[in-house]
Symmetry: C2
Subunit: 235 residues, 2 copies
DNA sequence: CTGTATCCTCAAGGATACTG
DNA sequence: CAGTATCCTTGAGGATACAG
């Protein structure tokens, strides 16, 4: 928060918002997280001390209000001022998904992926009875390769251990491929055709599964048209 | 540009954009600056080494293209990718002007103010003949208290020394007051009534002067409605 | 005009362990 | 659950001078 020495509103805004992690904490709050550990889960590489510090700053400048919620737990909520950051965070996301397609291996995180999927799972598309999808990622250490997504009732659950229910279908693929599909960088059909995803389960499930999982909301953002030269090469 | 370890497009965008000064350099490019020293003038507290570094990064990620312009001078221009940051920078400005009203003394800078005014002076509103406005700021060191704005033809000029032409009118006020008027935090009439601005010159000029100078574009952004309690106090 | 080159400091923030 | 406490490092970036 070192001052820029400018009266320009953009500079004044950035004094607050350009600090590392700040807008990612706001992103979590916009997505509906309210508790300290929810915010941590959304930003696992952030130390708790730093999260505290950022929340204090955001509170001081009026973006966040810290309250005890009904049950007495501490909870953080965006003020009107903070809520008005929504279009900014959304535009940043749209810009990011359009122009920063290349993901490093560092950017891939199964925990974040599954939690993000869980957040927006279209439960209505799923069968009424308990349904369990198993994920097996073949490009990460065994320890973090297996995940389960359980939909029973209206609340989806994510586990990194076998919850013991019968598995409806298993998705074998790379974490990278699954992430790219989720982000809308490539389509299910494309990945299936390329043999990079294998869905083990009944045909009906294999057909419905893409609709069950869906894609992240930003996946719908149109991508820049690649410039194709007459020779057919991408320029 | 330390990675966040997240595939989220907001995180990927912020890896680039949350570095100190970055979006302020982009702001200058969006405003039409193309040369190294123009970019420096817009961000005087930024060291040239750091500006170089930021420009290299922006070039590497595809936001900026570095070219020699017709005359051979180096020039920096936004790519399509960089141009798409415009709505983001504008939203940040709108948010900043709405929610960060308090300016520290550090934020006041006569050079930046005059250059910003110059940038958008509505020359058509001015007399056809050469017109010179003198600014005398009474709350800053003598050295930086006196400025001249010269409009002759279509190109306005700013000087921090007496250019020698006959002065059409002199504006005596605080740098803070002038900055607040420019930002739209307060109105001319309000500041005049409060006796915080004195315009020395012909009546016609005193009347027209607010229209000559105008306000920064973001001044038009509506401000949050203060919550007024029944007792009349601002909450 | 468009940068390099150096130096220096300091504080941001990552890692880890611990507590009411 | 919601943070503190501590340590440590490293590189970000401010200041200044200089160069092609």
């Amino acid at each position: 928060m070192t001052a820029y020495g400018q009266f320009c509103p953009v500079a004044k805004a950035m004094e607050i918002l350009d600090e590392r992690w700040t807008l990612l904490v706001v992103r979590e709050l916009l997505a509906g997280s309210t508790h300290f550990n929810e915010l941590r889960r959304g930003n696992p590489r952030m130390s708790p001390a730093l999260l505290t510090k950022r929340l204090r700053t955001l509170e001081r400048v009026g973006v966040v209000r810290r309250t005890g919620d009904p049950s007495g737990r501490t909870s953080y909520r965006l003020t009107e001022c903070g809520e008005e950051l929504r279009p900014i965070v959304e535009s940043l996301g749209a810009w990011g998904v359009r122009w920063i397609g290349e993901l490093g291996t560092e950017d891939l995180d199964p925990h974040l992926l599954l939690w993000d999927i869980r957040r927006t799972v279209p439960v209505d598309e799923w069968p009424r009875s308990r349904t369990v999808l198993a994920f097996a990622f073949d490009d990460v250490p065994q320890k973090v390769a297996h995940w389960w997504l359980v939909v029973a009732g209206s609340e989806p659950d994510v586990c990194d251990y076998d919850p013991g229910f019968e598995v409806t279908a298993t998705i074998r693929t790379g974490l990278r491929t699954m992430t790219e599909i989720w982000r809308g960088d490539r389509s299910w059909v494309d990945a299936l055709r390329a043999g990079e995803v294998e869905v083990v389960g009944p045909d009906t499930v294999r057909r419905d599964l893409p609709r069950w999982l869906g894609q992240m909301p930003l996946a719908a953002v149109p991508r820049p048209t690649p410039i194709v030269s007459p020779s057919g090469q991408v320029g």
